[in-house]
């Protein structure tokens, strides 16, 4: 599903160049739930942004679902993001003047789907994350966990090939975190490929595989025994 070969990325900081990713190689197959772990500055978010086509690599190859992502213009990238990828952010990134339903329906708007079909589909996904009754509430009327679930519904609504989650529990307390992870595991059980960037051990262990990143290199890539979040959720 995802394949990267010898990926490099540097940031220009004034006159200094900061080499963030120093030649990464790895593959993710369909249906995997991968945690990318590392301390801050290890390059994990940069990696995720490149995978999400929010940022571009300086060097190396990135193949998403058989398509080489290279020299893509913004329009093309936007279409790919919309079609292949779903994003979940630490800070939720909901549009604050749109209701939960409108937020979830937004990616479908950019697909050119009709209004009615959009809303029906969005409502279906809101129901899946257990927020059907909250569909007409604005983000600031929702709790953190609810917001993140709206964001997950929004990421899911286009039925993307890969879900990318950047510290999705970073702004949540542990109980809510586990609830969100429980939801993510359920989605993964349905066969969706998910990549989670985190620096929290317990969250990482709820995935099926952990990629350890340090100073821009993969230091360890291991399959683990998944901890089910439902064990912690009453």
């Amino acid at each position: 599903m995802i394949e990267i070969k010898d990926l490099h990325k540097s940031y220009q900081m004034g006159s200094n160049s900061l080499h963030v990713l120093k030649g990464l190689n790895f593959k993710v197959s369909e249906g995997e739930l991968v945690a990318i772990m590392g301390s801050s500055g290890s390059g994990k978010s940069t990696l995720l942004n490149i995978l999400g086509m929010l940022d571009v690599a300086d060097d190396g190859e990135y193949i998403l679902d058989g398509v080489t992502i290279k020299n893509m213009n913004e329009t093309k990238a936007a279409q790919y993001r919309n079609k292949f990828l779903g994003f979940i952010f630490q800070s939720f990134n909901l549009i604050n003047y749109k209701t939960a339903l409108e937020n979830v329906a937004l990616p479908l708007y950019y697909q050119g789907m009709g209004r009615k079909a959009r809303q029906e589909k969005a409502l279906k996904y809101l129901e899946q994350v257990g927020l059907k009754e909250w569909s007409h509430h604005l983000p600031n009327e929702l709790s953190g966990g609810q917001k993140q679930r709206v964001a997950i519904a929004r990421a899911m609504v286009t039925e993307p090939k890969v879900l990318l989650a950047d510290e999705l529990t970073g702004a949540l307390d542990s109980k809510t975190s586990y609830e969100v992870m429980d939801l993510l595991q359920t989605i993964n059980d349905l066969g969706n490929t998910i990549l989670v960037v985190t620096h929290e051990e317990d969250i990482a262990h709820m995935c099926k595989r952990i990629v350890h990143l340090r100073d821009g290199i993969i230091v360890k890539d291991e399959k683990i025994k998944q901890v089910r979040a439902s064990e912690y959720v009453q």
């Binding site: 929010l54 571009v56 936007a78 993001r81 952010f89 990134n93 549009i95 937004l106």
Partner: protein, 409 residues
């Protein structure tokens, strides 16, 4: 790009961001409102000027006799110069190439009465040419003609308000009025755009006046019109030769400024027009300044709006918004707001000007108005610049990598 969904998206964004919408709209509306008002007021001022100076014909000289201040050819100074009928004939004979018409004017106050009603009016003893000079409009009957001059008829042409004063609702035509002891037959009623005072004048043949005043041939002032086609320069040249001719005839020293006065309406008009134009220019500069201020205002707000929306745009891009749709949304929104509020500002301005109407006449502003084309042009100008001003930051926002936009707080 113009689908129903796009508009829904824009309306939602407008409705949910009232402050932003209000700021942008207010700037534009205010800019247009001030522009329309300024241009309107300047036009109102121009109207007043026209009213003051254009009521009467503009190709006219008024000749007044004076008192000499220099001795000349055996005549002492301080001699009163007088015009008489021979002057009319001589001017006619000497300047046929310039002259359109010539008429004397002898003004006298007189108590005029009809039955029980009486009042004091100015009578003007004139020739037929006077009608063109004052742009007198006949409502009933006719003006004084050459036959009246020749026969020294006791005919009077009275102003609309004279008829109203003396005859009430009745028709004055054919009635006889007593004017300083002589009976005059009313042969015409006129109106004049020059205002109430003009319409309380009475015109009689100048020869009749001279007959009443011991059959002399004296004239108070001479009014003459030159042919329009000689132009401003021609009029000036005519004035010089005319002055020279009369001074010679009346034995006035060529350098004596006091023997003869000529009021040249063309010259005055030129000066007044220049004054009006200067004022209009000052207003135009202010109006232009307002539009520029409006453009700068809307540009600032667009920059602010895009800056404020950077994160939202980042989210939208992450969700699959193309740069084109990002720019399109921002531009459509800004054009929509500026169009609506520009239109509102224009309507408000026009409404304001309408409601002013004659209320500011004391301040020399009359019937202020704005050319619809100009108002629409200014509005469109602001809309176009609003869109342009929005386009630059919108394009920049569309180019920002979504990751950068998302990090923006």
């Amino acid at each position: 790009m113009f689908s129903r969904d796009t508009w829904k998206e824009i309306f939602l964004s407008i409705r949910k961001n009232k402050m932003r919408t209000f700021l942008a709209g207010f700037t534009v509306a205010l800019g247009i409102l001030i522009f329309v008002s300024l241009v309107g007021l300047s036009n109102g001022l121009k109207n007043t000027f026209n009213e003051f100076f254009r009521d009467d014909a503009t190709n006219v000289f008024f000749l007044f006799p004076g008192r000499t201040s220099m001795p000349y050819k055996g005549y002492k100074s301080n001699r009163q110069i007088e015009f008489d009928n021979s002057d009319l004939a001589d001017i006619k004979k000497t300047f046929p190439q310039y002259l359109e018409y010539i008429t004397p004017r002898i003004s006298r106050g007189a108590l005029v009465s009809y039955k029980d009603e009486s009042n004091n009016y100015t009578t003007r003893a004139i020739g037929p040419g006077h009608q063109f000079n004052e742009k007198t409009i006949m409502m009933k009957g006719r003006y004084i003609n050459e036959e009246d001059i020749k026969n020294k008829t006791k005919y009077a042409v009275i102003g609309r308000l004279v008829e109203k004063d003396l005859f009430g609702d009745k028709n004055a035509m054919g009635k006889y009025v007593d004017m300083g002891g002589s009976a005059f037959k009313v042969i015409g009623v006129f109106q004049d755009d020059g205002g109430d005072r003009e319409e309380r004048n009475i015109y009689i043949p100048y020869t009749t006046r001279q007959l009443i005043e011991k059959n002399n041939d004296e004239i108070d002032q001479i009014i003459l019109a030159f042919k329009e086609e000689i132009g401003y320069a021609g009029a000036m040249a005519f004035e010089v030769s005319l002055r020279k001719f009369i001074k010679e005839k009346k034995y006035v020293h060529p350098d004596d400024e006091n023997g003869l006065f000529i009021r040249n309406v063309a010259d005055q008009l030129q000066q007044n027009n220049q004054f009006a134009n200067v004022i209009a220019m000052v207003f135009s500069v202010f109006a232009l300044g307002t539009i520029i201020a409006g453009i700068i205002g809307i540009s600032n707000i667009m920059v602010f709006v895009v800056k404020e929306r950077t994160k939202e745009l980042g989210i939208r891009k992450a969700l699959g918004a193309t740069p084109r749709s990002v720019i399109g949304t921002i531009l459509l929104e800004s054009v929509f707001i500026t169009t609506i509020s520009g239109y509102v500002g224009m309507l408000l301005g026009v409404f304001l000007l309408r409601s002013i109407g004659d209320k500011l006449e004391d301040y020399f502003i009359m019937n202020p108005y704005i050319d619809t084309g100009l108002a629409i042009f200014a509005t469109i100008l602001l809309i176009v610049f609003g869109a342009l001003a929005g386009y630059v930051p919108a394009r920049r926002a569309a180019r920002i990598k979504p990751i950068v936009a998302l990090q923006d707080n």
